[in-house]
């Protein structure tokens, strides 16, 4: 098992690529740089494939496959090793990350070709691959946290890639800070895990957690606290309410970055982490409820904002937030496998959507406003068709990958709570609406751009080929998990079953249900599809049939429209309620009032008082010996009185 034994090679290759480009690449020509970057990811991808192949040869008791390479931290009874692990969950993530990552690298060589920061870009991107791989390969929470923070770093670097733009660097900072808030929770979760289980290794913590008695429903016990704290981390990383605010802004980064980091991989790390910790979550009913509710709420919330965005990437960003909400909804209802499944399909179609959007932007010479596009269908056909596939997938058109994953989630949700299910369906309809809105505005209708200045052209091969590959995956990516196509067997679930075994009851129940009441399921499948169709038709109505309708509707529903287009004014709220007060207090109160006035004022005051006292004291030295004599007599009186009256 060469690769499984030397598992570290997989993450190391991108790191080497990053280092090579970052440190030595200053004078290298672009093709060398891209060759270095690409070869490292390609190799990494190939090795990942080989690792997966080897993985399938392992006997079940060898799984999870854990390799410890060196001790990273060891102090006072605490130990964290640099240890990597492979199990079924990892395999899926590994394939998604290296695969999609590889495609996006290829795409980027075309997309970023003219950018002066070419070297920097690939260096960062490779670094990201490294951290992402560490995140998913980690065998303990701490190493996972390394990857977790590392991808946050790369996200920061890549969002702020165009550092001359104030908005880009602002967005980068925001991303990092909001993520840090999440990490704060994550860290506390880690501490509590360590306190509870005495270790941070998955192989120790998770079985023990599974073996513990669950916290009673409605109560917040240790496990629930752990779960909630971990979820705070996930909320930050996966852009859920209320910490989602950074993701839309993150679109300031180059589009491949949005595709890779802010759609396909990094943002799903939260989901991965929750699924990884499912043993803890399952024994924490309150936490599960919170996860489900937050996920569902985020899904709906972000979808409503997505309805009215005009920036093509912003639409996709909110869509991502919304879809991530779905994944958490899945986790919240115990359908961890479904969550991961949606994660995977989402990686395909959302990655594709972003890349396609990038292609559009590329074609439009940097224009991102959909209102200034239109009718591009003919000019960039490859982009159009691939994007169309992806749209169908995300909208849940039957047969496409998104259809299976979304329906599985809604199916599970329905079993837990009709409300969650209902909101999920509604979101599905909204999703279909805004995605087709995007498609129609971009590719159909009148050409609203200035043809003299914008020379629309199809993207080069290295950009279109990844699009096509991803389009294929978007279409077919869900088939293996479709019981309908595989004789009632959900291969995906089955594959993951060993990992999720501890919490497999809902999944097993689902499998049972799918075997038993196929009719009901069919009916349930119907609802999201109908909602999707409704969304599609509405979009068609508004943006193809009567293009003036949206304006009217917006006018008639003015408050709602403003709320949506103003993104519920959450950013403004945060700014006013948290950021400004914090800065004001820090500046005016803590620094100027406390530090300068109170503390330093006291210090300087002591000096001042000493000087003043000194000035008084020295005035006793009047230069006149008669007053000196007076002092002496005074002293004599005092001292003799002291002796005569006191000392006895």
């Amino acid at each position: 098992m060469p690769v499984l034994t030397y598992l570290w090679i997989i993450p190391l290759l991108p790191l080497l690529g990053a280092a090579a480009n970052g440190i030595f690449g200053v004078r290298w020509p672009k093709n060398v740089i891209s060759a270095v970057a690409l070869s490292s990811t390609t190799l990494s991808f190939l090795l990942a494939l080989e690792a997966v192949r080897e993985f399938f040869t392992l006997s079940p008791n060898q799984i999870p496959w854990i390799r410890t390479y060196f001790t990273w931290i060891s102090a006072g009874g605490f130990q964290a090793d640099f240890a990597l692990q492979v199990d079924q969950l990892t395999v899926i993530m590994l394939l998604v990350v290296t695969g999609v990552g590889w495609l996006i690298h290829i795409y980027s060589t075309g997309y970023m070709h003219d950018d002066p920061g070419f070297r920097r870009f690939f260096s960062y991107l490779n670094l990201f691959m490294f951290f992402m791989l560490v995140l998913i390969l980690a065998a303990n929470y701490l190493l996972m946290f390394v990857g977790w923070e590392g991808v946050g770093l790369c996200s920061y670097l890549l969002i702020g890639f165009f550092f001359l733009k104030q908005s880009a660097t602002n967005a980068g900072n925001k991303a990092f800070w909001v993520n840090r808030i999440g990490d704060f929770g994550f860290l506390l979760g880690l501490f509590l895990i360590f306190r509870t289980f005495g270790s941070l290794d998955f192989s120790i913590v998770l079985p023990r957690a599974a073996g513990m008695t669950a916290d009673p429903a409605g109560q917040i016990g240790t496990l629930t606290t752990i779960a909630l704290l971990l979820f705070v981390g996930a909320v930050g990383k996966s852009a859920q309410l209320p910490l989602y605010v950074w993701l839309p802004d993150a679109m300031e980064g180059p589009t491949p970055v949005s595709a890779l980091i802010h759609a396909a991989t990094m943002v799903t790390a939260g989901v991965y982490m929750v699924v990884r910790s499912h043993a803890i979550f399952l024994n924490a009913p309150v936490a599960m409820q919170v996860v489900g509710v937050i996920g569902c709420a985020t899904a709906l919330f972000a979808a409503t904002i997505g309805l009215v965005q005009t920036d093509i990437k912003k639409v996709l960003a909110y869509s991502t937030v919304s879809q991530l909400g779905y994944m958490f909804l899945a986790c919240g209802v115990g359908a961890f496998g479904a969550g991961i499944f949606h994660l995977m399909t989402h990686a395909f179609f959302k990655g594709l959507l972003f890349l396609a959007a990038g292609s559009v932007i590329h074609a439009m010479g940097g224009e991102q406003d959909m209102r200034k596009m239109g009718g591009l269908r003919k000019k960039i056909p490859v982009t159009f068709w691939t994007m169309f596939m992806a749209t169908l997938a995300i909208a849940g058109a039957p047969g496409f990958s998104g259809f299976f994953s979304k329906d599985e989630i809604l199916n599970e949700a329905q079993r837990v709570s009709p409300v969650l299910w209902g909101l999920g369906v509604l979101t599905a309809g909204l999703t279909a609406f805004y995605m087709f809105r995007l498609l129609f505005l971009t590719f159909f209708g009148a050409e609203r751009y200035d043809e003299h200045h914008v020379h629309v052209h199809e993207s080069p091969k290295n950009m279109t080929i990844p699009l096509i590959v991803l389009a294929v995956l978007s279409v077919c990516g869900g088939w293996m998990a479709a019981p309908q196509l595989n004789g009632g067997v959900n291969h995906f679930q089955q594959f993951l079953a060993p990992v999720l075994a501890t919490g497999a009851e809902p999944a097993a129940a689902a499998a049972e249900a799918s075997g038993g009441g196929a009719e009901i399921l069919q009916a349930l499948f119907g609802a999201p599809v109908i909602a999707g169709l409704l969304g599609f038709f509405l979009a068609w109505w508004f943006y193809i049939k009567s293009p003036e309708a949206p304006k009217k509707l917006a006018d008639s529903l003015s408050p709602l429209y403003k709320l949506f287009s103003g993104k519920y004014f959450i950013d403004e709220l945060y700014q006013a309620a948290i950021v400004h007060p914090l800065v004001w207090i820090s500046d005016k109160v803590l620094w100027h009032a406390v530090d300068e006035r109170a503390i330093d004022g006291t210090v300087n005051g002591v000096a001042f008082v000493s000087r003043e006292t000194g000035d008084r004291v020295r005035r006793a030295t009047t230069g006149n010996i008669r007053s000196y004599a007076t002092w002496i007599v005074l002293g004599v009186l005092v001292f003799t009185s002291l002796l005569l009256w006191m000392v006895d």
């Binding site: 007053s627 004599a629 009186l637």
Partner: protein, 167 residues
Amino acid sequence: MITPQIAIFLVLAAVAVAGAVSLIVQRHPIHSALSLIVVMVALAGLYLLQGAEFVAAVQIIVYAGAIMVLFVFVIMLLNAGEEERSNVSRMARFVGAPLGVVFLVEVAYWIGRATSHLGSAPAETVSTRDLSTLLFREYVFPFELTSFLILIALLGALVLARREESN
């Protein structure tokens, strides 16, 4: 009961105190100096009253005679005028003088209280021989030192009072 000695004492004491007060209230230094001489003479009387004849003599000769003459001489030399009454140092006037009075009262009170029961000692005249024995035997060391003291004083007067040769 007032014995003659006590009467003499009272008279001399009154003279001494009067002289001292006069020292204070006189404005011209020469008057003050004369007041001081009065005090010294009265004190010499008191020494006699206690049988310290030799000391009384020295008091008159050296103190009243030599030292005070020096004072008077200097006063004349410098042509010192009357003292102004306005007190620049308010500290001395408003705090110092009252404090001085308090001090006087306190010390006099405590000493008086402490010694009131001691009674009186017999007035036996001290022989000058005994005195000189003590001075030149036991106290020969400080006595020799005083000679250096006087040497120093001489040197001081020489150094300080002489005019620069160039002037």
